[in-house]
Every structure is written in C-alpha cells, then in structure tokens.
Symmetry: C2
Subunit: 373 residues, 2 copies
C-alpha cells in the first residue's frame, strides 16, 4: 500500500537555514551564509534548490524555514512564495535541536499528528526522483511511529562524512527499503571508510530526520527535558500576541545541542530509528574541494568557474575559481587550486587544504577582523 | 693610472626606460611599466634606484633618461632633479638601438668626445661599490676607443639569461680586469649553463654598454646606415626649434632593432668589444620568480609579501604575494605560489610557470582586453 499521490498527506517540510559555512570563507560570511549562494551553478541558491525539491512533496504552503532574524529579507527574496506563517526567526543561533524542536512544537500545536521532515538548507542533491521516493518511504516510517533518517548510499570511501550503520532490514508498511539503524559512526579513517563501503551496511549521515512532531517532542522530553519545556512554552505563545516577549525570555536560554545527539542517537539505541537508503547524489558542500568535485564531475572542465560574469583565463590549470569581484583572473600552470575572489578578501588554497580554511576564519576572528567575516 | 675621483670626467649615463615587462603583468601595465615599480621592497622604484646608482658616477646633471611620452610625468615624479635637457621622449617605442643611438647622437653633438654608458631602468643591482668599480674600468676601456660591456659573474647556472664568452684578458690602461669578448651566447640549456659556470669564461649579458658616443655612432653608420642617418638628423634638430617637426618625420621610420644586434655582436666579431666582469649581485627581474627569489634570499620569509599596507594571512605556504588592491589575502597550504592582486586583475601562477605570464598578456591583447593591459 505505497502511497503514490503528491503532495504527501499530513506532511510538513522544515528547512533549518542556519550555519554560516566557515570553511567556505570568504564566499560565505556572517551576512551571506552558505545557503544563500549558488554553489552548483544552477542559477539559484542552495536554499532555493532545497525549497524547490520539497514543495512537490509537502505543498508550497507546507514548507517552513527556520532562520536567523538577520537573514529574513534574503530568505524572502529567495522564496517570494514563503508565507509569514512558515517563517520562524531565531533571535540568535541555538543549534539544531532548538531549531527543529521549535518547528515541531509549533506544527504539532497547529496540526496534531503532523509528520515533519527536516532538510538542511545548504546541501546539494541530484536525482530528485530518488529523493522523492526516499522521503515517501520515510514518511511511511514516521507514520508508523518511528523516527526515519534518509542515509546516503556511499559512492566512494569518503572520510569527510559521518556514517550510519544499518545492517538489518526493517519491516514497515509503505517503506520496503527501510533498515533499522544500529548506530552512528563518526568520520572514519581512510581504511575504515573502505571497509564501510565494501560491507554495504553503512550509509552517509545526511542529517535528514522525518518523524511525527509528537514523537520528536516526546523524545526530547526524555533526553533534554529543560529544552523540551522551553520549546513547549514557545509554541504555546507562538501564534499569539505574546510571542515576542516569550521568545525574548525563553530562546536565549535554550541548550545548544545538535539534534543528532538529543534525538537520533538515543533513538538508535532504543531501536526507534529507521533509515531509508537514498540512491541519489548528495553532498554537504562542506568545503571548496567539494564544490570543485561537484563541478569537475558535472562539467568536466579543467578549472571549474563559479560567479556571474566571471572573466577567467586559464592555462594548464585545474581546481576551482569563485569569482565575485568582477575582476579579470588569470591562472597559469597551477594544479588543484582554489581561488575565491571577493571584493574585500581573497583566498588561495588547494583542494587538499580546503578543510583548513576554517583556521583562517578563526585567525581573523582572533585578530578582530570582523569586517571580513 | 686608475682614476679615483668621482664623478668620472667626460662621462654621461643614459637610462633607457622603455619596456613594459609583460611577464610582470598585472603589476606592470602599459601605463605603469616595470621600471616605475618598487620590486625590491627598497621603498623606491627600479628607475629611481638606477638613478641613485648612477648620479655619483656621472653627476646629477649628467644622467639622461630616454622614455615614452606617456611616462614623462611619472618619470619626473620619480626623479624631481631630472633636468629637461636630460629627458628624451619617444613618441613611440623603436627598440634600444634607436633609443641609445639618439642619446649618443645628441650628447656627441653637445659634447664631442663624450663617453656614454647605457644602463637599463628596470634591473636590480646589489653591491654598489663593485658596480662603481666596474663602470670606472669600463669608462677607461671606452676612452681607449673600445666598446665596453659589464658582464655579470654568474652566481649559478642560470638558463634565463644570455651569456658573454670572454676567455682572454685584455690589456688596457685603467681596466685591469677587462677581457676581450669572443662571442655572445643565447640562453643556454641547463647542461650548457653548468658548463659555462664551471669554465669561468662566461658572464651573464646584462646589456650594459659603455663607449664614446662617436664610437657607437661610427659603428651604427656601418651596420645600420639608414638608422644612423636618421639619428644624426634628429640630433641636428634636437636643441633647435625644429625638434618637433623632425621627430614627427624621422622617429616613426627608424628601424626597430636591439642594440645587441646592431652594435655589440658586430663589435665582438671585430675584436672591439671588451667586458668588465661585474662582481655584484644583478637580476633583470624578468618575472615573478625572480622577485620571489630576490625576496626569499633577502628576507628569508616563507611567503614574500610586496605592497604597501598588505594584509596577508599565510599558513604553510611559500612563494610571493604582490598586494596592490588593499584586500585581505589568505593563503593556505600552497607551495611556490605567485599571487598578484591588483584592483582590476588577479594573477595566480607558480614560480616555475612565471615565464608563461607573457602568454596571458598575449591572450588578453588578442581578446581586445586593453583595459587591463
């Protein structure tokens, strides 16, 4: 009895749009975070791509964005169709448990029994048909009272992602490909990653969670009771005139904790977490090496070039150029290079060192250089 | 009977300030050629450094600069003491035979019997005492009726320079270290360069020529009679009201030929060219690799940084950054890199590929991108 009609009944999509993406400095900044950029050359931002992927599944009036107050205007510019009702603004970042938990609490109050799915605003997915199918099954898992996560079938022995160990299939109506999650595994060594790939029992953890809002809230009530109480207080006030006052009082005190720790890992231990293997291409675009890879596989160019109106001359070079400053850029005989050219800051690194860009951001912050952060 | 007083009697220094320095793009431009830049971090331009080196030898009123009309203001800004009489402006570039030949013709007319020495405006010299001694000997050679060139004692088996083969000493009063030039040799292979270095009979050709103006003119009359006739016509008119009209008529038609071919090579064949080995550090700063080397040996920095107020963060990188755009530049884990950051153009290459920058300039010219040339 696999449901085939779209949008899915009783389903709400939630997009937490929070992280800046420090390893993508100087492209990503405090006032222009990763999700507002077009990193794929699709012509639209990662946030917009995420929205476009979810609207067919949930309906345009049933996709909620949780973001910082500072990004409200930019988010609404990206998504003109986003209703006020579906914008949840954070006065300050309190991590993913608070962001997703608040969405769950608000939506459960508005529509008891609703199933919600949380999908990051800044990931890249290619293969929407497979994504849609995976969400469909995940919603079936959620309706059965479990928490579902869509894991990604590894295409290589990646060491930059966490893994989900799920050796045994589950048996859930409407979710023929579901597996029971045994445990989460941190980013592995290269050797471990090879073993995971070979075994076939491991998926990449993409941080996508689908469950009844009530299931999420009940789980948080056990693992993080103070956080849960705060979220309930916020939700009670949300659609009333007291929202502002309650937000000011409660939100800044909520515990900062990733939802992987507050919800997913305890659920895995309790046997309540199922995973649907996603057979689509996925990347969290964590650094410029990811972007270079996305583009070199997609376009087979020696030097991937991002940026509207980029004027790049390349001779015997490969890697990636992000051109945001409108200048002529010449690249001569440089291999695996990463060049990010913005009006006030320039980054030069290599794909192998792309992860270390965060250290530059840390150094600039220590030096009080908030003007370029 | 070595003369010891300075300035040297009857000596005039000539500085041809012409070439743009394409391999130093985007730092060097048509309107900001190489000689106007401070490439050594000395705080003054190469032209000014050249001037400062020559004034003690010739006297401040006896140093002539031959440059393009477009550079007049910049040259005068660099050298406020430069007298109008000592500025020779080219309406368009006609190569070094015309530039130096015109200076010779003007100066011979003004002061028959004068010895002139030509020194490029855009080379770097360290060890002024040795330079001064070499010029002193070269002037003695010139007074004896020969053409002198100061060759540079090689410090390594360089493949980027031409060589002078001079195995036999000369015997000239006042020039105890002079050798007779046997021949010129083009830029050698690495193996040949090693042989040259080991033999001790080869010097780098630095293009410095010292001779009586009349000797230069007489030689040109034989090798390039039409050019010689044009230069004499220009010199006759130079200090008269007809200068402008004669320049407009004659200058654009002068043959473009390097003085190495019109003067030095024929003189070597005729046994009239002597060389003084220069025991000082010299570089023609032909590309960014040269600049990187100049700075890494001088400062022992991992990443050489040029540019006033440069703000560069470097992590595990080496090479050179030229910062002319005032932006924050972060360089992470990049080896032997060359980064040249200007307001409208950015170059990224490696020291090993620095010679190939000229191809970028050629490509930009073909593409009609004169705005950045």
């Amino acid at each position: 009895m696999t449901e085939s009609a779209l949008p899915l009944t009783g389903f709400y999509a939630v997009i937490p749009a929070g992280g800046i993406g420090s390893r993508l400095w100087p492209l990503s900044r405090a006032d222009a975070p990763k999700f507002l950029h077009d990193l794929t050359g699709s012509g639209s931002s990662l946030l917009r791509d995420t929205w476009d992927r979810l609207v067919p599944l949930a309906g345009a009036d049933r996709v909620m964005v949780v973001t910082g107050r500072a990004h409200r205007a930019a988010v609404e510019e990206q998504i003109p169709a986003l209703a006020d009702l579906n914008v949840v603004l954070e006065s300050e970042p309190r991590d993913s448990s608070a962001a997703i938990g608040l969405a769950a609490a608000i939506l459960e109050k508005r529509e008891p029994g609703v199933v919600i799915g949380s999908f990051a605003a800044d990931h890249v997915i290619r293969g929407t048909r497979f994504f849609t199918q995976a969400v469909r099954e995940a919603v079936a898992v959620a309706r059965a009272g479990y928490i579902a996560t869509i894991g990604i079938r590894p295409s290589e022995a990646a060491v930059g992602f966490g893994y989900i160990h799920a050796p045994g299939s589950a048996s859930i109506d409407g979710a023929p490909t579901a597996f029971e999650v045994d445990s989460f595994v941190e980013k592995p060594s290269a050797q471990k990653a090879e073993e995971y790939l070979a075994s076939g029992d491991y998926l990449w953890n993409a941080g996508m969670y689908i469950a009844k809002a009530s299931v999420i809230l009940d789980a948080l009530a056990v693992t993080e009771p103070a956080l849960h109480a705060g979220l309930i207080e916020l939700a009670e006030a949300w659609d009333t005139p007291t929202r502002g006052a309650v937000v000011d009082k409660v939100w800044p005190k909520l515990k900062k904790i990733a939802i992987d720790y507050s919800l997913a890992e305890p659920a895995a231990v309790a046997g309540k977490l199922m995973t649907i293997p996603g057979e689509f291409d996925w990347d969290d675009v964590g650094d410029f090496a990811s972007i270079a890879k996305l583009h070199s596989s997609g376009y087979k160019k020696d030097l991937a070039i991002l940026g509207e109106g980029a004027r790049v001359l390349s001779d015997s070079s490969n890697g990636i150029v992000v051109s945001e400053a409108g200048r002529t850029i010449a690249v001569v005989g440089v291999k695996d290079i990463v060049i990010v050219d913005t009006p006030d800051a320039l980054l030069i690194t290599t794909t192998a060192n792309a992860q270390r860009v965060k250290s530059v951001v840390d150094a600039l912050r220590l030096a009080g250089r908030d003007d370029v952060l």
